[in-house]
Amino acid sequence: MSILAIQGLTHKFGGLTAVSDLNLTLNAHELVGVIGPNGAGKTTVFNIISGVYRPSRGSILLEGVELVGKSPSQITNLGIARTFQNIRLFRELSVLDNVRIAHYGQVRYNALEALFHVGRFKKEEARIIEHSMELLALLRIDAAADVQAKNLPYGLQRRVEIARALATRPRLLLLDEPAAGMNPNEIDQLMDLIHWIRDEFNLTTLLIEHQMALVMSICERLLVLDFGETIAEGRPEEIQSDQRVLEAYLGDTVT
Protein backbone atom coordinates (compact mmCIF):
# COMPACT_ATOMS: atom_id res chain seq x y z
CA MET A 1 0.00 0.00 0.00
CA SER A 2 1.46 3.38 -0.91
CA ILE A 3 1.89 5.97 1.80
CA LEU A 4 3.37 8.83 -0.22
CA ALA A 5 2.65 9.49 -3.90
CA ILE A 6 4.55 12.27 -5.68
CA GLN A 7 3.45 13.05 -9.20
CA GLY A 8 4.92 15.39 -11.79
CA LEU A 9 6.71 17.48 -9.15
CA THR A 10 8.54 20.44 -10.68
CA HIS A 11 10.18 23.36 -8.94
CA LYS A 12 11.84 26.39 -10.49
CA PHE A 13 14.04 29.02 -8.81
CA GLY A 14 13.86 31.88 -11.28
CA GLY A 15 15.22 30.36 -14.48
CA LEU A 16 16.74 27.32 -12.81
CA THR A 17 14.75 24.11 -12.71
CA ALA A 18 15.78 22.57 -9.42
CA VAL A 19 13.40 19.61 -9.64
CA SER A 20 11.90 18.45 -12.88
CA ASP A 21 8.93 16.11 -13.23
CA LEU A 22 9.69 13.92 -10.24
CA ASN A 23 7.53 10.85 -9.69
CA LEU A 24 7.94 8.73 -6.61
CA THR A 25 5.74 6.34 -4.71
CA LEU A 26 6.69 5.13 -1.26
CA ASN A 27 5.13 2.00 0.15
CA ALA A 28 4.44 1.64 3.82
CA HIS A 29 7.49 0.61 5.85
CA GLU A 30 9.86 1.10 2.93
CA LEU A 31 13.36 2.60 3.28
CA VAL A 32 14.23 4.53 0.16
CA GLY A 33 17.38 6.52 -0.57
CA VAL A 34 17.74 9.63 -2.71
CA ILE A 35 21.23 10.10 -4.10
CA GLY A 36 22.85 12.34 -6.64
CA PRO A 37 25.73 14.77 -7.06
CA ASN A 38 25.80 18.15 -5.28
CA GLY A 39 23.15 20.49 -6.59
CA ALA A 40 21.03 17.66 -7.94
CA GLY A 41 17.95 18.95 -6.11
CA LYS A 42 17.76 16.41 -3.31
CA THR A 43 17.26 18.82 -0.42
CA THR A 44 14.87 20.83 -2.57
CA VAL A 45 12.68 17.73 -2.83
CA PHE A 46 12.66 17.49 0.98
CA ASN A 47 11.85 21.17 1.29
CA ILE A 48 8.91 20.76 -1.05
CA ILE A 49 7.56 17.66 0.67
CA SER A 50 7.82 19.30 4.10
CA GLY A 51 6.17 22.49 2.86
CA VAL A 52 9.05 24.98 3.04
CA TYR A 53 8.75 25.59 -0.72
CA ARG A 54 5.60 25.51 -2.74
CA PRO A 55 6.28 23.59 -5.95
CA SER A 56 5.74 25.18 -9.34
CA ARG A 57 3.78 22.12 -10.44
CA GLY A 58 2.83 18.66 -9.30
CA SER A 59 1.07 16.93 -6.48
CA ILE A 60 2.11 15.16 -3.29
CA LEU A 61 -0.38 12.84 -1.63
CA LEU A 62 0.14 11.52 1.88
CA GLU A 63 -2.28 8.63 2.19
CA GLY A 64 -4.60 10.40 -0.20
CA VAL A 65 -4.30 13.88 1.40
CA GLU A 66 -2.88 16.60 -0.84
CA LEU A 67 0.11 18.32 0.80
CA VAL A 68 0.81 21.02 -1.77
CA GLY A 69 -0.38 24.35 -0.39
CA LYS A 70 -0.27 23.29 3.24
CA SER A 71 2.05 25.00 5.73
CA PRO A 72 5.07 23.16 7.15
CA SER A 73 3.40 22.81 10.56
CA GLN A 74 0.24 21.35 9.02
CA ILE A 75 2.28 18.86 7.03
CA THR A 76 4.24 17.87 10.12
CA ASN A 77 1.04 17.32 12.04
CA LEU A 78 -0.27 15.15 9.22
CA GLY A 79 2.64 12.79 9.84
CA ILE A 80 5.84 13.83 8.08
CA ALA A 81 8.92 14.68 10.11
CA ARG A 82 12.41 15.59 9.00
CA THR A 83 15.96 16.29 10.03
CA PHE A 84 18.33 18.78 8.48
CA GLN A 85 21.55 18.54 6.52
CA ASN A 86 23.21 21.13 8.74
CA ILE A 87 21.77 20.31 12.16
CA ARG A 88 19.11 22.81 13.17
CA LEU A 89 18.47 22.18 16.83
CA PHE A 90 17.18 24.91 19.12
CA ARG A 91 20.71 25.47 20.32
CA GLU A 92 20.19 27.51 23.47
CA LEU A 93 17.48 25.18 24.79
CA SER A 94 17.85 21.91 26.64
CA VAL A 95 17.61 18.59 24.87
CA LEU A 96 14.35 17.89 26.71
CA ASP A 97 12.88 21.20 25.54
CA ASN A 98 13.92 20.46 21.97
CA VAL A 99 11.91 17.25 22.09
CA ARG A 100 9.02 18.81 24.01
CA ILE A 101 8.63 21.55 21.41
CA ALA A 102 8.07 18.92 18.75
CA HIS A 103 5.01 17.73 20.71
CA TYR A 104 3.26 21.00 19.93
CA GLY A 105 0.70 19.44 17.61
CA GLN A 106 -0.29 16.75 20.08
CA VAL A 107 -0.77 18.81 23.22
CA ARG A 108 -4.45 19.19 23.95
CA TYR A 109 -4.97 22.42 25.85
CA ASN A 110 -5.87 25.89 24.71
CA ALA A 111 -4.31 29.27 25.34
CA LEU A 112 -6.50 30.08 28.34
CA GLU A 113 -5.62 26.83 30.08
CA ALA A 114 -1.96 27.63 29.39
CA LEU A 115 -2.20 31.20 30.75
CA PHE A 116 -3.58 30.06 34.11
CA HIS A 117 -2.15 26.52 34.25
CA VAL A 118 -5.60 25.01 34.79
CA GLY A 119 -7.82 22.36 33.21
CA ARG A 120 -6.06 19.82 31.02
CA PHE A 121 -2.76 21.66 31.40
CA LYS A 122 -1.12 19.70 34.21
CA LYS A 123 -2.02 16.25 32.90
CA GLU A 124 -0.91 17.07 29.40
CA GLU A 125 2.40 18.57 30.52
CA ALA A 126 3.16 15.50 32.64
CA ARG A 127 2.34 13.29 29.66
CA ILE A 128 4.63 15.29 27.36
CA ILE A 129 7.55 15.12 29.77
CA GLU A 130 7.03 11.39 30.21
CA HIS A 131 6.83 10.77 26.47
CA SER A 132 9.84 12.96 25.71
CA MET A 133 11.99 11.26 28.31
CA GLU A 134 10.95 7.81 27.07
CA LEU A 135 11.95 8.82 23.56
CA LEU A 136 15.30 10.13 24.73
CA ALA A 137 15.83 6.92 26.67
CA LEU A 138 15.04 4.82 23.61
CA LEU A 139 17.68 6.73 21.67
CA ARG A 140 20.03 6.48 24.65
CA ILE A 141 20.43 10.22 25.11
CA ASP A 142 18.33 10.59 28.28
CA ALA A 143 21.52 11.24 30.25
CA ALA A 144 21.88 14.49 28.33
CA ALA A 145 18.26 15.63 28.77
CA ASP A 146 19.27 18.66 30.86
CA VAL A 147 22.14 19.73 28.63
CA GLN A 148 21.89 22.69 26.28
CA ALA A 149 21.73 21.31 22.74
CA LYS A 150 24.70 23.35 21.57
CA ASN A 151 26.95 21.73 24.17
CA LEU A 152 26.48 18.19 22.87
CA PRO A 153 29.00 16.48 20.62
CA TYR A 154 28.08 16.33 16.97
CA GLY A 155 27.01 12.71 16.85
CA LEU A 156 24.64 13.17 19.78
CA GLN A 157 23.18 16.30 18.22
CA ARG A 158 22.20 14.14 15.26
CA ARG A 159 20.47 11.74 17.62
CA VAL A 160 18.61 14.58 19.31
CA GLU A 161 17.44 15.76 15.90
CA ILE A 162 16.11 12.28 15.18
CA ALA A 163 14.43 12.14 18.60
CA ARG A 164 12.88 15.51 17.96
CA ALA A 165 11.57 14.37 14.60
CA LEU A 166 10.14 11.19 16.15
CA ALA A 167 8.39 13.26 18.81
CA THR A 168 6.02 14.60 16.17
CA ARG A 169 4.77 10.99 15.76
CA PRO A 170 5.52 10.74 12.06
CA ARG A 171 4.52 8.01 9.66
CA LEU A 172 7.07 9.23 7.14
CA LEU A 173 10.55 10.28 8.23
CA LEU A 174 12.78 12.36 5.98
CA LEU A 175 16.47 12.15 6.87
CA ASP A 176 18.70 14.72 5.16
CA GLU A 177 22.31 13.45 5.11
CA PRO A 178 22.26 11.97 8.61
CA ALA A 179 25.82 10.67 8.25
CA ALA A 180 27.37 13.98 7.21
CA GLY A 181 30.48 14.67 9.27
CA MET A 182 30.52 11.28 10.99
CA ASN A 183 33.39 8.81 11.23
CA PRO A 184 32.99 5.20 9.99
CA ASN A 185 32.34 3.93 13.49
CA GLU A 186 29.56 6.44 14.06
CA ILE A 187 28.13 5.63 10.63
CA ASP A 188 27.82 1.98 11.58
CA GLN A 189 25.89 2.92 14.71
CA LEU A 190 23.72 5.26 12.68
CA MET A 191 22.83 2.52 10.22
CA ASP A 192 21.69 0.29 13.05
CA LEU A 193 19.74 3.16 14.52
CA ILE A 194 17.92 3.97 11.28
CA HIS A 195 16.97 0.36 10.84
CA TRP A 196 15.88 0.01 14.40
CA ILE A 197 13.69 3.13 14.59
CA ARG A 198 12.01 2.13 11.37
CA ASP A 199 10.82 -1.09 12.97
CA GLU A 200 10.27 0.32 16.42
CA PHE A 201 8.11 3.22 15.20
CA ASN A 202 6.75 1.51 12.10
CA LEU A 203 8.08 4.21 9.82
CA THR A 204 8.48 4.76 6.16
CA THR A 205 11.85 6.42 5.63
CA LEU A 206 13.22 8.59 2.87
CA LEU A 207 16.92 9.23 3.12
CA ILE A 208 19.30 11.61 1.39
CA GLU A 209 22.87 10.48 1.67
CA HIS A 210 26.31 10.90 0.19
CA GLN A 211 27.90 7.94 1.94
CA MET A 212 27.47 5.26 -0.68
CA ALA A 213 28.28 2.43 1.69
CA LEU A 214 25.44 3.43 3.95
CA VAL A 215 22.91 3.94 1.20
CA MET A 216 23.75 0.73 -0.61
CA SER A 217 23.57 -1.40 2.49
CA ILE A 218 20.38 -0.19 4.13
CA CYS A 219 18.12 1.16 1.39
CA GLU A 220 15.70 -1.12 -0.35
CA ARG A 221 15.25 1.19 -3.29
CA LEU A 222 17.18 4.17 -4.65
CA LEU A 223 16.25 7.24 -6.60
CA VAL A 224 19.06 9.03 -8.44
CA LEU A 225 18.75 12.71 -9.25
CA ASP A 226 20.98 14.85 -11.44
CA PHE A 227 20.24 18.50 -12.22
CA GLY A 228 16.71 17.99 -10.97
CA GLU A 229 16.01 15.08 -13.31
CA THR A 230 15.36 11.54 -12.18
CA ILE A 231 18.01 9.55 -14.01
CA ALA A 232 17.52 6.17 -12.42
CA GLU A 233 15.37 4.31 -9.96
CA GLY A 234 15.68 0.79 -8.66
CA ARG A 235 17.31 -1.63 -6.28
CA PRO A 236 20.82 -0.75 -5.06
CA GLU A 237 22.56 -3.40 -7.14
CA GLU A 238 20.74 -2.23 -10.27
CA ILE A 239 21.79 1.34 -9.60
CA GLN A 240 25.40 0.36 -9.07
CA SER A 241 25.69 -0.86 -12.63
CA ASP A 242 23.53 1.81 -14.26
CA GLN A 243 25.41 3.60 -17.03
CA ARG A 244 23.72 7.01 -16.56
CA VAL A 245 24.43 7.00 -12.85
CA LEU A 246 28.09 6.34 -13.44
CA GLU A 247 28.18 9.18 -15.93
CA ALA A 248 26.50 11.57 -13.53
CA TYR A 249 28.97 10.79 -10.80
CA LEU A 250 32.16 10.41 -12.78
CA GLY A 251 31.53 12.64 -15.77
CA ASP A 252 30.80 11.56 -19.32
CA THR A 253 34.31 10.27 -19.97
CA VAL A 254 33.27 6.84 -18.77
CA THR A 255 32.63 4.61 -21.72
Binding site: F13, T43, N47, V52, F84
Partner: protein, 291 residues
Amino acid sequence: MTYLFQQILNGLQLGSIYALIALGYTMVYGILTMINFAHGDLFMVGAFLCFILAALLGLSFIPTLLLTMFGVACVGVLIERAAYKPLRQAPRVSAIITALGVGLFLENFTLALSPYPKQIPQFLTSVTWTIGGVSFSTLQVFIIGLSVLLMIILDVVVRRTMIGMAMRAISWDKFVAPLVGVPVDFVISVTFAIGTSLGGAAGVLYGLAYPVIDPYMGIMVGWKAFISAVVGGIGNVRGAMIGGYILGMLEILVVVVFPSTYRDLVTFTLLLVLLIFRPYGILGNPVPQKV
Protein backbone atom coordinates in the same frame (compact mmCIF):
# COMPACT_ATOMS: atom_id res chain seq x y z
CA MET B 1 -1.63 76.15 -9.01
CA THR B 2 1.00 78.47 -7.63
CA TYR B 3 0.19 77.13 -4.20
CA LEU B 4 0.57 73.54 -5.32
CA PHE B 5 3.89 74.31 -6.99
CA GLN B 6 5.12 75.94 -3.81
CA GLN B 7 4.05 72.87 -1.83
CA ILE B 8 5.87 70.54 -4.21
CA LEU B 9 8.99 72.60 -3.70
CA ASN B 10 8.51 72.34 0.08
CA GLY B 11 8.06 68.61 -0.29
CA LEU B 12 11.26 68.30 -2.30
CA GLN B 13 13.13 70.30 0.31
CA LEU B 14 11.93 68.15 3.20
CA GLY B 15 12.41 65.01 1.09
CA SER B 16 16.02 65.99 0.38
CA ILE B 17 16.74 66.11 4.09
CA TYR B 18 15.01 62.78 4.75
CA ALA B 19 16.85 61.23 1.81
CA LEU B 20 20.25 62.37 3.05
CA ILE B 21 19.59 60.91 6.50
CA ALA B 22 18.00 57.74 5.10
CA LEU B 23 21.21 57.11 3.16
CA GLY B 24 23.13 56.78 6.43
CA TYR B 25 20.65 54.20 7.75
CA THR B 26 20.63 52.23 4.55
CA MET B 27 24.41 52.17 4.06
CA VAL B 28 25.05 50.88 7.56
CA TYR B 29 22.24 48.35 7.27
CA GLY B 30 23.51 47.21 3.90
CA ILE B 31 26.97 46.47 5.22
CA LEU B 32 26.27 45.28 8.79
CA THR B 33 22.52 44.43 8.73
CA MET B 34 22.35 46.68 11.75
CA ILE B 35 19.89 49.50 12.35
CA ASN B 36 21.98 52.40 13.61
CA PHE B 37 19.38 54.06 15.79
CA ALA B 38 21.89 56.75 16.81
CA HIS B 39 21.94 58.08 13.28
CA GLY B 40 19.08 60.55 13.80
CA ASP B 41 21.01 62.02 16.70
CA LEU B 42 24.12 62.41 14.57
CA PHE B 43 21.95 64.53 12.31
CA MET B 44 21.15 66.63 15.39
CA VAL B 45 24.86 66.84 16.24
CA GLY B 46 25.37 68.13 12.69
CA ALA B 47 22.84 70.90 13.24
CA PHE B 48 24.50 71.89 16.51
CA LEU B 49 27.99 71.86 14.99
CA CYS B 50 26.61 74.09 12.27
CA PHE B 51 25.32 76.45 14.97
CA ILE B 52 28.72 76.54 16.70
CA LEU B 53 30.63 77.14 13.49
CA ALA B 54 28.25 79.67 11.99
CA ALA B 55 26.89 81.57 14.96
CA LEU B 56 29.77 81.40 17.43
CA LEU B 57 32.78 81.32 15.10
CA GLY B 58 31.11 83.26 12.31
CA LEU B 59 32.26 81.05 9.45
CA SER B 60 30.65 81.30 6.05
CA PHE B 61 28.56 78.57 4.46
CA ILE B 62 31.05 76.41 2.59
CA PRO B 63 33.56 75.97 5.46
CA THR B 64 30.66 75.41 7.86
CA LEU B 65 29.23 72.65 5.69
CA LEU B 66 32.57 70.93 5.11
CA LEU B 67 33.71 71.18 8.72
CA THR B 68 30.33 69.93 9.97
CA MET B 69 30.44 66.95 7.64
CA PHE B 70 33.97 66.20 8.76
CA GLY B 71 33.13 66.64 12.44
CA VAL B 72 30.06 64.42 12.31
CA ALA B 73 31.98 61.80 10.35
CA CYS B 74 34.60 61.76 13.12
CA VAL B 75 31.91 61.29 15.77
CA GLY B 76 30.34 58.56 13.65
CA VAL B 77 33.58 56.64 13.20
CA LEU B 78 34.41 57.05 16.87
CA ILE B 79 31.03 55.56 17.83
CA GLU B 80 31.49 52.72 15.37
CA ARG B 81 34.94 51.85 16.69
CA ALA B 82 34.14 52.22 20.39
CA ALA B 83 30.59 50.91 20.64
CA TYR B 84 29.64 48.84 17.59
CA LYS B 85 32.80 47.09 16.52
CA PRO B 86 33.15 44.99 19.70
CA LEU B 87 29.58 43.78 19.16
CA ARG B 88 29.94 42.55 15.60
CA GLN B 89 29.80 38.91 16.69
CA ALA B 90 27.18 39.49 19.42
CA PRO B 91 23.45 39.01 18.84
CA ARG B 92 22.12 41.62 16.45
CA VAL B 93 19.83 43.07 19.03
CA SER B 94 22.70 43.99 21.39
CA ALA B 95 24.09 46.27 18.72
CA ILE B 96 20.67 47.84 18.18
CA ILE B 97 20.24 48.54 21.89
CA THR B 98 23.75 49.95 22.05
CA ALA B 99 22.81 52.26 19.20
CA LEU B 100 19.72 53.37 21.12
CA GLY B 101 21.95 54.03 24.13
CA VAL B 102 24.43 56.03 22.09
CA GLY B 103 21.55 58.04 20.63
CA LEU B 104 20.17 58.82 24.09
CA PHE B 105 23.64 59.79 25.22
CA LEU B 106 24.08 62.23 22.35
CA GLU B 107 20.64 63.77 22.99
CA ASN B 108 21.09 64.24 26.70
CA PHE B 109 24.71 65.29 26.48
CA THR B 110 23.71 68.02 24.07
CA LEU B 111 20.80 68.92 26.32
CA ALA B 112 23.10 69.18 29.32
CA LEU B 113 25.39 71.54 27.44
CA SER B 114 22.63 73.55 25.80
CA PRO B 115 19.34 73.45 27.71
CA TYR B 116 17.54 75.93 25.44
CA PRO B 117 16.76 75.69 21.72
CA LYS B 118 19.22 77.52 19.51
CA GLN B 119 18.67 79.65 16.47
CA ILE B 120 20.95 79.21 13.47
CA PRO B 121 21.70 82.61 11.87
CA GLN B 122 20.61 83.36 8.33
CA PHE B 123 24.09 83.11 6.91
CA LEU B 124 22.97 82.59 3.36
CA THR B 125 21.03 85.48 1.88
CA SER B 126 17.85 84.21 0.32
CA VAL B 127 16.29 85.97 -2.64
CA THR B 128 12.79 85.28 -3.81
CA TRP B 129 12.49 84.75 -7.54
CA THR B 130 9.27 84.99 -9.43
CA ILE B 131 9.01 83.11 -12.68
CA GLY B 132 5.70 83.01 -14.53
CA GLY B 133 3.71 83.99 -11.48
CA VAL B 134 5.34 81.30 -9.33
CA SER B 135 7.64 82.56 -6.64
CA PHE B 136 10.21 80.53 -4.81
CA SER B 137 13.20 81.24 -2.65
CA THR B 138 16.72 80.62 -3.83
CA LEU B 139 17.40 78.97 -0.50
CA GLN B 140 14.99 76.14 -1.25
CA VAL B 141 16.43 75.58 -4.68
CA PHE B 142 19.89 75.65 -3.16
CA ILE B 143 19.04 73.06 -0.50
CA ILE B 144 17.47 70.73 -3.04
CA GLY B 145 20.30 71.23 -5.52
CA LEU B 146 23.04 70.64 -2.97
CA SER B 147 21.35 67.48 -1.68
CA VAL B 148 20.96 66.09 -5.16
CA LEU B 149 24.63 66.87 -5.84
CA LEU B 150 25.72 65.03 -2.68
CA MET B 151 23.56 62.07 -3.61
CA ILE B 152 24.95 61.91 -7.13
CA ILE B 153 28.48 61.94 -5.72
CA LEU B 154 27.55 59.13 -3.32
CA ASP B 155 25.94 57.09 -6.06
CA VAL B 156 29.08 57.40 -8.18
CA VAL B 157 31.26 56.45 -5.22
CA VAL B 158 29.20 53.35 -4.47
CA ARG B 159 28.94 52.22 -8.07
CA ARG B 160 32.21 53.26 -9.66
CA THR B 161 35.04 53.26 -7.13
CA MET B 162 37.07 50.55 -5.43
CA ILE B 163 35.76 51.52 -2.00
CA GLY B 164 32.18 51.27 -3.28
CA MET B 165 32.94 47.87 -4.74
CA ALA B 166 34.39 46.78 -1.40
CA MET B 167 31.22 47.96 0.37
CA ARG B 168 29.05 45.97 -1.97
CA ALA B 169 31.32 42.96 -1.53
CA ILE B 170 30.93 43.03 2.26
CA SER B 171 27.20 43.47 2.12
CA TRP B 172 27.06 40.55 -0.32
CA ASP B 173 29.04 38.17 1.87
CA LYS B 174 30.90 39.40 4.91
CA PHE B 175 32.67 36.08 5.41
CA VAL B 176 34.09 35.74 1.93
CA ALA B 177 34.97 39.41 1.42
CA PRO B 178 38.02 39.35 3.73
CA LEU B 179 39.25 36.19 2.00
CA VAL B 180 39.62 38.04 -1.28
CA GLY B 181 41.52 40.85 0.40
CA VAL B 182 38.82 43.37 1.30
CA PRO B 183 39.96 45.26 4.44
CA VAL B 184 36.66 44.85 6.26
CA ASP B 185 37.29 47.08 9.28
CA PHE B 186 38.53 49.92 7.13
CA VAL B 187 35.63 49.68 4.71
CA ILE B 188 33.08 49.61 7.51
CA SER B 189 34.61 52.72 9.06
CA VAL B 190 34.56 54.47 5.70
CA THR B 191 30.92 53.52 5.30
CA PHE B 192 30.12 55.04 8.68
CA ALA B 193 32.13 58.13 7.81
CA ILE B 194 30.28 58.68 4.54
CA GLY B 195 26.85 57.86 5.96
CA THR B 196 27.21 60.06 9.01
CA SER B 197 28.76 62.95 7.06
CA LEU B 198 25.65 62.95 4.87
CA GLY B 199 23.60 63.05 8.07
CA GLY B 200 25.72 66.02 9.19
CA ALA B 201 25.11 67.75 5.87
CA ALA B 202 21.39 67.13 6.38
CA GLY B 203 21.72 68.81 9.77
CA VAL B 204 23.21 71.93 8.17
CA LEU B 205 20.57 72.05 5.43
CA TYR B 206 17.81 71.49 7.97
CA GLY B 207 19.21 74.41 9.97
CA LEU B 208 19.00 76.58 6.88
CA ALA B 209 15.40 75.62 6.23
CA TYR B 210 14.09 75.45 9.79
CA PRO B 211 16.55 77.51 11.87
CA VAL B 212 15.38 76.63 15.41
CA ILE B 213 17.20 73.54 16.66
CA ASP B 214 16.99 71.52 19.87
CA PRO B 215 18.68 68.37 21.20
CA TYR B 216 15.63 66.17 20.58
CA MET B 217 15.11 67.22 16.97
CA GLY B 218 16.89 64.10 15.72
CA ILE B 219 14.40 61.65 17.17
CA MET B 220 11.36 62.25 15.01
CA VAL B 221 13.29 63.24 11.90
CA GLY B 222 15.58 60.24 12.40
CA TRP B 223 12.78 57.70 12.82
CA LYS B 224 11.02 59.15 9.81
CA ALA B 225 14.16 58.92 7.73
CA PHE B 226 14.55 55.34 8.87
CA ILE B 227 11.03 54.58 7.70
CA SER B 228 11.80 56.17 4.34
CA ALA B 229 14.87 53.95 4.04
CA VAL B 230 12.60 50.95 4.68
CA VAL B 231 10.05 52.17 2.15
CA GLY B 232 12.77 52.50 -0.45
CA GLY B 233 14.13 49.07 0.41
CA ILE B 234 16.61 49.10 3.27
CA GLY B 235 20.17 48.38 2.20
CA ASN B 236 19.53 49.92 -1.20
CA VAL B 237 21.18 53.32 -1.76
CA ARG B 238 18.91 54.52 -4.57
CA GLY B 239 15.91 53.17 -2.63
CA ALA B 240 16.77 55.38 0.34
CA MET B 241 16.81 58.46 -1.90
CA ILE B 242 13.45 57.55 -3.45
CA GLY B 243 11.99 56.72 -0.03
CA GLY B 244 13.14 60.05 1.41
CA TYR B 245 11.47 62.03 -1.36
CA ILE B 246 8.28 59.95 -1.13
CA LEU B 247 8.00 60.63 2.59
CA GLY B 248 8.80 64.34 2.20
CA MET B 249 6.26 64.82 -0.57
CA LEU B 250 3.63 62.79 1.30
CA GLU B 251 4.02 64.83 4.48
CA ILE B 252 3.64 68.11 2.65
CA LEU B 253 0.87 67.03 0.28
CA VAL B 254 -1.17 65.36 3.03
CA VAL B 255 -1.38 68.78 4.68
CA VAL B 256 -2.70 70.24 1.41
CA VAL B 257 -5.72 67.91 1.64
CA PHE B 258 -6.14 67.26 5.37
CA PRO B 259 -5.78 69.48 8.44
CA SER B 260 -2.14 69.70 9.47
CA THR B 261 -2.70 67.71 12.68
CA TYR B 262 -3.50 64.65 10.53
CA ARG B 263 -0.06 64.70 8.93
CA ASP B 264 1.61 61.84 10.82
CA LEU B 265 -1.56 59.79 10.96
CA VAL B 266 -2.22 59.81 7.22
CA THR B 267 1.43 59.60 6.22
CA PHE B 268 2.24 56.58 8.33
CA THR B 269 -0.96 54.79 7.45
CA LEU B 270 -0.16 55.23 3.76
CA LEU B 271 3.39 53.96 4.29
CA LEU B 272 2.12 50.91 6.15
CA VAL B 273 -0.32 50.15 3.34
CA LEU B 274 2.54 50.45 0.87
CA LEU B 275 4.64 48.04 2.93
CA ILE B 276 1.82 45.51 2.99
CA PHE B 277 1.99 45.36 -0.80
CA ARG B 278 5.76 45.64 -1.07
CA PRO B 279 7.15 44.26 2.21
CA TYR B 280 10.75 44.65 1.07
CA GLY B 281 10.33 48.24 -0.06
CA ILE B 282 10.24 49.76 -3.51
CA LEU B 283 13.69 48.67 -4.69
CA GLY B 284 14.34 45.91 -2.17
CA ASN B 285 14.21 42.21 -2.95
CA PRO B 286 13.23 39.37 -0.65
CA VAL B 287 16.16 37.40 0.68
CA PRO B 288 15.60 33.73 -0.15
CA GLN B 289 15.55 31.55 2.94
CA LYS B 290 17.96 28.67 3.13
CA VAL B 291 17.04 25.36 4.69
